[in-house]
């Protein structure tokens, strides 16, 4: 293990001459995006393109008795009005289940509701028109007769015998249940000197992407081929799903993904309105565009969290944790989302609670229930913020109860840095983590003792500041264990094809995708380093199922670790191919040569022998001058999938320093720290900014973001004025540090970093608020978001 910015790195295979690994290289797509020259689907226009808008159910649960479209059809510009039963002739329904989530069940979901709407916002009728405005005008004139049905909104009572069953054919409202028991839990609680119990409540929120979901589908009747321009994280997954549900072969479907204005897990799912758009294109034989507007984003983009976790920790007087126990309940809307299911988040909570600690005794129950609200599914850091807040909330409550410093408590219980490989109490396997090194580095970075002294001093002046911590683990680089084994056609492997062009530049085609986080920069760095060329001569192509190797895309913090390794291996392979040509021209041996900084050189002396454009010129235009029987291969493809470990777990620790205004309940965030270990850091700036962005989204959950529903299943704040996304003005300065424990599963050694910030931030803010209020005898706050009202109530002020 090495601490990145403290020690010079040891020379490894990554430290080739002109290596870009570990350097903050600017992204190649930056200038284009900053100049407003991005190519977002929202801006795309094709000839004969029509626009679709959807009539959406205003009720959380209602039977659709009649849709009278006569007036709408006569509206200027209208091309077609299409109902659910009409569209069902073109596209088949889907069921969001996976075979490795035992017992998970859901009902068939259609692109447009057939006879019943199950949440406020479900599409019930499509209007295709020459413009979006005309489509909306026609929707105004649709006469839809609804019969309101009773609703299931409270997850807590969804399983009661007297509660309506949303899908009667399923028997009950239970989507999925998981029980886990490890060690001797009852005995461990009995042996504990103190047991702390708390109920944690996580508000439902959503990932507000800068660019809403956008899709243009074009069925070309002449080619019998569908081209879909879509802002998605997983083009090949979508290719499979479009083909499957439109009864096409996959080669008849091309998915093109250019620039995507943010995803955060929102754009990796099947959305009924996007499936409907594709089906409408097939039906109408012309390009059809759908861009979710901000109002429909709030009621249709997947929501996340909304967990209630009753949790318990046992602890000895000396701080040793004896056991963890959780009972998690989450409501996921009326359908399990396809194809990744809505059971994964609760499953992750079970996997991750207690994850950083040695404690072997663990009991968990997770139940996932249906309800008449918008669907819930995987959003950035799936399950992590919940598991981390529960675990770290319990750890700090227990530390306070037995009177031990919260960091001391962690030092005592975190898995030792020399204790790997090992498994956690939930059964998850760790290759190599660095909890203790990360903690000590954090303590140093933040000046812990000084801050504690300042906190004590300020309390005398009735200024209440708090420090909160959270050690955490993060699931990254998933193997087929995540989805593939459950039957979903979501690729765990990824590929890269590298080609030397005719002037000696490097063209990289990769199966992973870019949504603004810098994937293409990382691929360019890795390919340039492995091959031996200046990054300015590397061009990266992603997001096109016709032109990139088959791959999973970008989600679950996999792009750098998996897509990057494929590019690394392909770069090495292409170097060998090019050196074979060069050696042939120079009448030398490939192993006596190397490629450095875009030149073929003597491996020993570094003396220039031939330029890459000269190699390319000979190979492409004068192959006749090469020896008989020698064929130049200036393309190389390599694939990679993690095999040794189901997931490359990473770890880290965060801290928050904040001030609570005890008269208003307002929380002012002062500073935030994160020390994270994602293995090899390819681009420090991109990693740091990923972590900062993730922290901001975690702070959103802790203090601001909340999809507020009433008891009738109506979303009350589905707009940008009433749904509070975190804004720059309220964010603290964030200091990021690294510990580097590369994974031995790949040569690059990179693990994922995209979700670490979101995983830990809610926990540290919650813990810091409780730390601030502790001398005031306030009630413990275990509810998110911690609004001024929540804080004032804990203080007994209202």
């Amino acid at each position: 293990m090495k601490i990145a910015d403290d020690l010079p790195s040891a020379l490894t295979a990554l430290d080739r001459p002109n290596s870009y690994i570990g350097r903050s290289v600017p992204r190649p797509n930056l200038a284009r995006l900053m100049q407003g020259r991005g190519q977002y689907v929202s801006d795309l226009a094709l000839a004969r393109m029509a626009h679709v808008a959807f009539a959406r159910s205003p009720h959380a649960h209602a039977r659709i008795k009649k849709i009278d479209a006569a007036a709408a059809k006569k509206t200027p510009g209208v091309i077609a009005v299409v109902t659910g039963p009409e569209l069902a002739k073109v596209i088949t329904p889907w069921v969001g289940v996976l075979s490795h989530l035992k017992g998970i069940k859901s009902a068939p979901q259609h692109a447009i509701a057939i006879d019943r709407a199950c949440w406020q916002g479900e599409a019930v009728c499509a209007v295709v028109a020459k413009s979006r405005a005309e489509a909306e005008d026609a929707i105004d004139l649709l006469d839809i007769d609804y019969e309101e049905l009773p609703v299931v909104t409270d997850a807590e009572t969804a399983l009661d015998a007297k509660t309506l069953v949303i899908h009667p054919e399923l028997g009950d409202n239970l989507t999925f249940e998981r029980k886990h028991e490890a060690g001797e839990v009852d005995k461990a609680f009995k042996e504990a000197d103190a047991v702390v119990e708390a109920t944690f409540v996580f508000g439902r929120h959503t990932g507000v992407t800068n660019e809403p979901r956008a899709i243009v589908a074009y069925w070309n009747e002449g080619e019998q081929r569908l081209t879909v321009y879509q802002g998605t994280q997983a083009p090949h997954m979508m290719q499979n799903l479009f083909a499957k549900h439109l009864s096409l072969a996959e080669h008849q479907v091309r998915v093109v993904t250019k620039d995507v204005g943010g995803s955060f897990g929102i754009k990796v799912h099947t959305y009924a309105d996007e499936m409907a758009t594709v089906a409408l294109s097939k039906l109408l034989k012309r390009p059809v565009k759908f861009v979710a507007d901000r109002l429909e984003s709030f009621i249709t983009d997947i929501h996340a969290r909304d967990h209630r976790v009753k949790a318990k920790i046992g602890v000895k007087k000396d701080g040793t944790i004896t056991a963890f126990e959780i009972d998690d309940l989450t409501g996921i809307g009326p359908y399990s989302v396809y194809p990744r299911t809505s059971g994964i988040e609760a499953n992750q909570v079970v996997n991750l609670v207690g994850g950083p600690y040695k404690c072997p005794n663990y009991r968990a129950l997770a139940r996932v229930v249906f309800q008449n609200k918008n669907v819930m599914c995987q959003y950035r850091a799936v399950g992590h913020p919940i598991a981390t807040a529960v675990t770290e909330g319990l750890v700090e409550l227990a530390a306070a109860k037995i009177g031990i410093d919260p960091l001391e408590m962690r030092r005592k219980n975190l898995i030792p840095d020399d204790g790997y490989p090992c498994a956690g109490a939930s059964g998850i396997k760790f290759e190599k983590l660095s909890h203790h090194a990360a903690l000590e580095k954090l303590v140093k970075m933040m000046g812990y003792e000084k801050l504690r002294a300042e906190q004590a001093e300020l309390r005398k002046k009735k200024i209440y500041r708090g420090l909160g911590f959270a050690s955490f683990i993060e699931v990254t680089n998933p193997s087929a264990a995540f989805y593939g084994v459950g039957g979903a056609k979501i690729s765990a492997q990824d590929g890269a094809t590298l080609r030397l062009d005719a002037q000696g530049a490097l063209i990289v085609h990769s199966g992973v995708t870019e949504q603004g986080q810098g994937t293409e920069a990382v691929l360019a760095q890795v390919a340039a380093s492995a091959f031996g060329i200046a990054i300015e001569r590397v061009r990266v192509v992603t997001g096109d199922t016709d032109n990139t190797p088959y791959g999973g895309g970008t989600w679950a913090s996999r792009a750098a670790g998996i897509g990057g390794e494929a590019a690394w291996q392909a770069g090495k392979a292409l170097r060998q191919n090019v050196l074979a040509v060069a050696a042939s021209i120079l009448q030398s041996e490939p192993k006596a040569l190397d490629i450095r900084n875009g030149l073929v050189v003597d491996a020993d002396t570094g003396r220039e022998r031939i330029t890459l454009d000269e190699v390319a010129r000979v190979a492409y235009f004068r192959p006749d001058t090469l020896p008989p029987g020698f064929q130049a291969e200036l393309v190389a493809t390599r694939h990679y999938v993690p095999r040794a470990w189901p997931f490359a777990f990473t770890n880290g620790i965060q801290a928050s320093y904040l001030e609570v205004d005890i008269d208003t309940g307002f929380v002012k965030l002062l500073r935030h720290w994160c020390v994270e270990d994602c293995g090899t850091v390819i681009n420090p700036q991109l990693v740091d900014e990923q972590i900062r962005g993730g922290i901001v989204q975690g702070i959103g959950a802790a203090l601001y973001e909340h999809c507020i529903y009433d008891e009738r299943g109506q979303l009350l704040n589905g707009n940008m004025a009433d749904y509070l996304v975190p804004m720059a003005g309220e964010m603290p300065d964030m200091e990021i540090g690294h510990v580097v424990s590369p994974t031995a599963d790949s040569e690059l050694g990179a693990k994922g970093a995209g979700e670490a910030g979101t995983a830990g931030a809610p926990a540290v803010v919650m813990n810091a608020i409780n730390d601030a209020l502790r001398p005031l005898g306030a009630k413990i706050i275990t509810e998110m978001p911690a609004t001024p009202g929540v804080v004032l109530k804990a203080l007994g002020r209202v």
Binding site: S131, E136, L295, F666, Y704, N719, P788
Partner: protein, 274 residues
């Protein structure tokens, strides 16, 4: 999120505006900065048949001192007001309030008159006008009239403005040397509408307290004003129970809002002391 279609007229004189409004009655809406109206149009929560654009009306611009009062034209942008020396000098309460309105981009377009005319109960400027005892100049089909702030705000988004009326300007009495001002609001994020806010001024013993975000309109807390006149802050805070009865909203209960209103009064009180 596309508005229903509407007609549009950009009027060149106040008279033309009044005629256009009279012709279309409740079917017409005035557009100036558009910072509230345009979102309402896009969400199809408002669908006027015609928009009357008053941005070309020179007589609605400008900030001037006229006979003991400061006159601020309805079309003065909030950003322009923020940089105004006259407002800083003669209406420091408004100067204090302006940075709380939305964000720079909003204040660049949003107008003083638009904010008063819309009368959002959680907005800053209506409360300032009320606290300062200002007046509103209105031009309508029946000619010009002036309405005192105390009589202007009627109910939720309801003011003394009728369908044919144009808000021309607001007038603020130039304060005495001894006048003290206090302004504060509590919003979850900077630029949001306030959970609770207070615009206040005090001249000698007499205080005017205008709370916002705690009712259907900006509200004078007259019992608390009387208590302050007697010199008792604690009593003023206590009687807010009777002055205010904030309704619950999605972000907080009425109880929380009342607590915040009391906290604001306590915090602002030192600024009001001579």
């Amino acid at each position: 999120m596309k508005p229903r279609s509407f007609d549009y007229v950009r009027v060149k004189s106040l008279a033309e505006a009044v005629i256009a409004l009279a012709r279309h009655g409740t079917e017409a809406k005035i557009i100036a900065g558009g910072q509230s109206l345009v979102p309402l149009l896009n969400m199809r929560m408002a669908s006027p048949a015609i928009l009357v654009d008053i941005n070309a009306l020179a007589e609605l611009r400008g900030i001037s001192l006229e006979g003991g009062s400061l006159r601020i034209g309805a079309l003065v942008r909030q950003a322009e007001a923020e940089g105004s020396v006259e407002i800083a000098k003669h209406a420091p309460l408004i100067a204090k309030a302006l940075p709380y309105i939305g964000h720079f981009a909003i204040r660049n377009r949003g107008t003083i008159g638009g904010s008063i005319a819309l009368a959002d109960p959680a907005a800053e400027l209506p409360a300032c006008l009320l606290a300062l005892g200002g007046e509103v100049e209105i031009e309508g089909a029946k000619g010009a009239r002036t309405v005192k702030a105390d009589d202007f705000f009627k109910d939720l988004y309801e003011t003394a403005l009728g369908p044919g009326d144009v808000l021309i300007a607001i007038r603020i009495p130039v304060p005495s040397k001894d006048m003290r001002f206090g302004f504060s609001e509590l919003a979850r994020r900077h630029g949001d509408f306030a959970m609770a806010g207070l615009a206040a001024c005090r001249d000698g013993k007499s205080a005017r307290l205008a709370f916002f975000g705690v009712g259907s309109t900006p509200l004078r807390a007259k019992k608390a004003e009387a208590a302050l006149a007697k010199g008792s802050l604690e009593e003023a805070v206590a009687v807010l129970d009777h002055d205010l009865d904030p309704p619950d909203d999605i972000h907080s209960s009425g109880k929380v809002k009342l607590h915040l209103a009391k906290t604001l009064l306590r915090r602002i009180a030192p600024e009001l002391a001579a």
